[in-house]
């Protein structure tokens, strides 16, 4: 389990901006230390936990130490195996939405770190979901990877413009998918045992 966090990691866990964390660190609300020989701020786990509890920030993300993934796809078998593969990695906690409407509800309740979003949903398409998430400022920190069997460059570009951070084709290599997730979430790319 991770014991020390950077301000960026703390910001993601608390779902606030990195600037807020730095301000709280600098004014003493959030206790921590600087890396010897540099100005980089570091926050011990217990200090971050106390800070979150004092400020009524839900602490479950820190408690599990796992990144929250919202997997949106209507194909039950695909969702099942993808969730299993992600959970096996050990660093992710996965919840599932089977359509665009559920995804919209759950993204607000569950506050995932990252959404894995199938583009072809039974109700609204993935591009629409991207745009709705991006129109909500409180969901700014949520990263989105669109997943689809379609391959046209211009379609991918459209998804990026709608707010997707990355794109992955179906069928995907789960290691490559996790690498992309890690890069977006500022995590180490190789799985921690």
């Amino acid at each position: 389990m991770k014991t020390v966090f950077t301000t960026g990691e703390a910001a993601k866990i608390c779902k606030v901006s990195q600037q807020t964390i730095i301000r709280c660190f600098d004014n003493g609300q959030l206790k921590g230390f600087r890396v010897p020989g540099s100005k980089f701020r570091r926050i011990p786990r217990e200090s971050l936990y106390r800070f979150m509890r004092d400020n009524q920030i839900p602490t479950d993300a820190l408690e599990s130490g796992k990144r929250k993934v919202l997997l949106v796809d209507d194909d039950a078998e695909l969702v099942e195996v993808t969730a299993r593969l992600l959970e096996d990695d050990g660093r992710f906690e996965v919840k599932i939405a089977a359509n665009g409407f559920d995804a919209g509800m759950m993204v607000k309740e569950y506050r995932p770190d990252i959404m894995l979003l199938d583009v072809m949903l039974p109700d609204i398409n993935g591009k629409e979901v991207c745009m709705r998430v991006r129109s909500d400022a409180s969901l700014e920190e949520v990263r989105i990877i669109c997943i689809s069997g379609m391959v046209e460059d211009d379609k991918i570009q459209e998804l990026r413009l709608a707010g997707a951070d990355d794109f992955e084709r179906k069928p995907f290599d789960v290691e490559i998918l996790i690498d992309k997730m890690c890069r977006l979430l500022d995590m180490e790319t190789a799985a921690v045992a």
Partner: protein, 500 residues
């Protein structure tokens, strides 16, 4: 009822058979018209086959008519049939010849009609008599001429002698010819034309009187059959066919050329439309298939990945890896199909040919090294092209990969470029063998099943072609240089500032 009694035998008459001697003359090359013109049987033939029919003013009993293929052919056929030969009474034949001589001479002097037309009319004036009718020979002749479908001007001149001249003219014949024939009959016809409408025609009658004084003597046309006549006639038919063919084959050939051109054009247009329709259908299929197939593929691949991650046995893990790889292969095929049938819109920019070739070489170098194949870029042109760089690179890569498949270890692949008019031609050539003969036609067809191995497998060449077309270019395979695939793209003037 006497008319009916005379017309009945006339209707039953077969063709008046030409004499053997004139048939022989017909088989000469060229046919001897002077021998032929004495025989009413053969003159009838000649008139019958004088197509297109000239009128009484221009008709000529010449080689052109005597060489009609139908003429000798029918004559040959008639040899074997029961036919009416010459009348036994040589007086009638003599009468015909005298009328012919006089009429043609009048025509030649007066210029009222063609002398040959007048000759024929004179010779055939006693046609009814030739065929055995006596009192009513004019009506018999009229029926025979109509039945045998002779030209109108001879039908009217000979068949309507019993009508006054003006009445006969009203039927559409040739007035000059009618006048001359009538003048000749008035002069030498004697009592042979009892129903003839006798009207005087001053000047003509006077001339006829003068000319009739010294008409040439009667010449008998021998009628005994000649044994070798049939083969000679058949040869003459063949010869005439060949000769007349030359005159009408030329325009027909032109017409055929024109039709072939039109057909080729229509065919090309059809091919293009068919190809476009096929591409559209394929594109639609690929779009649907991308979604429908990729989901199950992802499930298969995902489950295999999960099992593999927990598999301690390397052998089993290897099998699972194969499953995962194969799902990727199906996905690549679907992607390729989409790329082929509906490539993304090109984003043209100016690119240096040299740098594009260099990048492709770098991309493939490792793979080629692994296979022991040498890749060299012999770029002869420092040109620039206007195209979507990524798509062009993909197209060239597919051509190089196609070469990689065909070249064995120790072989080589050469990339060259040159400008040709307003195009840049990038050629990929290799040391392998050319495509199999049965696959040549389908090099750019996706999923052509004839390519079982080696060059041209899969979608590489079709995609290269589709991407080239998407950028205003083309990919061609040259049968004279069977391992050379040439990609042409629009040339662009060198830009002022440096580009990638």
């Amino acid at each position: 009822m006497s008319t009916a009694s005379s017309s009945q035998p006339a209707m039953a008459l077969p063709w008046l058979r030409p004499a053997s001697a004139s048939l022989l003359a017909l088989t000469d090359d060229p046919p001897d018209a002077s021998a032929i013109r004495l025989d009413p049987g053969l003159v009838l033939h000649a008139l019958r086959y004088s197509r297109p029919t000239p009128d009484g003013a221009t008709f000529a009993l010449d080689e052109a008519i005597l060489c009609q293929p139908g003429l000798s052919e029918t004559a040959a056929a008639l040899l074997g049939e029961a036919t009416v030969s010459a009348p036994s009474d040589s007086n009638v034949l003599q009468l015909g010849q005298r009328l012919a001589h006089l009429a043609s001479k009048l025509a030649a002097v007066m210029g009222l009609c063609s002398p040959d037309a007048a000759w024929c009319a004179g010779l055939l004036a006693p046609l009814g008599r030739y065929c055995g009718a006596s009192d009513h020979h004019l009506s018999a002749a009229r029926k025979l001429l109509a039945r045998w479908r002779l030209p109108g001007w001879i039908q009217i001149a000979v068949g309507y002698l019993d009508l006054p001249l003006d009445e006969a003219d009203g039927l559409g014949g040739h007035r000059g010819l009618n006048r001359i024939l009538r003048a000749a009959i008035r002069r030498v016809g004697g009592e042979s034309f009892p129903k003839f409408a006798r009207e005087a025609d001053g000047e003509l009658d006077a001339l006829a009187g003068r000319f009739a004084e010294d008409l040439p003597a009667y010449v008998e046309v021998p009628r005994d059959p000649v044994p070798e006549l049939l083969p000679r006639l058949l040869r003459a038919t063949a010869r005439a066919r060949g000769r007349s063919a030359q005159s009408w084959i030329a325009p027909l050939e032109d017409r055929i050329d024109h039709l072939v051109d039109q057909l080729a054009e229509a065919r090309l247009d059809f091919d293009h439309r068919l190809r476009d329709a096929k591409l559209e259908a394929l594109s639609e299929f690929a779009a649907g298939a991308s979604h429908e197939f990729n989901n199950p593929l992802a499930v298969i691949s995902g489950n295999a990945q999960w099992l593999k991650s927990r598999e301690a046995d390397p052998d089993k893990a290897g099998h699972l890896a194969t499953i995962i790889r194969q799902t990727q292969r199906v996905h690549d095929l679907l992607t390729g199909t989409r790329q082929f049938s509906s490539p993304s819109a090109a984003k043209p920019a100016v690119h240096s040919v040299e740098s594009l070739l260099g990048r492709v070489q770098r991309d493939i170098q490792t793979e080629a090294d692994g296979l022991g194949i040498r890749i060299e870029v012999a770029s002869a042109c420092a040109s620039f092209l206007l195209a979507d760089g990524e798509q062009v690179r993909t197209a060239i890569s597919h051509l190089v990969r196609n070469a990689l498949e065909a070249v064995g270890q120790g072989g080589w692949i050469k990339l060259t470029s040159a400008t040709a008019g307003s195009s840049v031609v990038i050629a990929v050539e290799d040391s392998g063998s050319g495509p199999a003969e049965d696959a040549q036609e389908h090099l750019f067809d996706p999923f052509f099943s004839g390519r079982s191995a080696g060059r041209g497998r899969g979608l590489g060449l079709p995609i290269a072609w589709a991407l080239a077309r998407n950028n205003g270019g083309d990919v061609r395979w040259d049968p004279t240089a069977p391992t050379r695939f040439a990609l042409s793209l629009p040339l662009r003037e060198a830009p002022k500032r440096q580009v990638a």
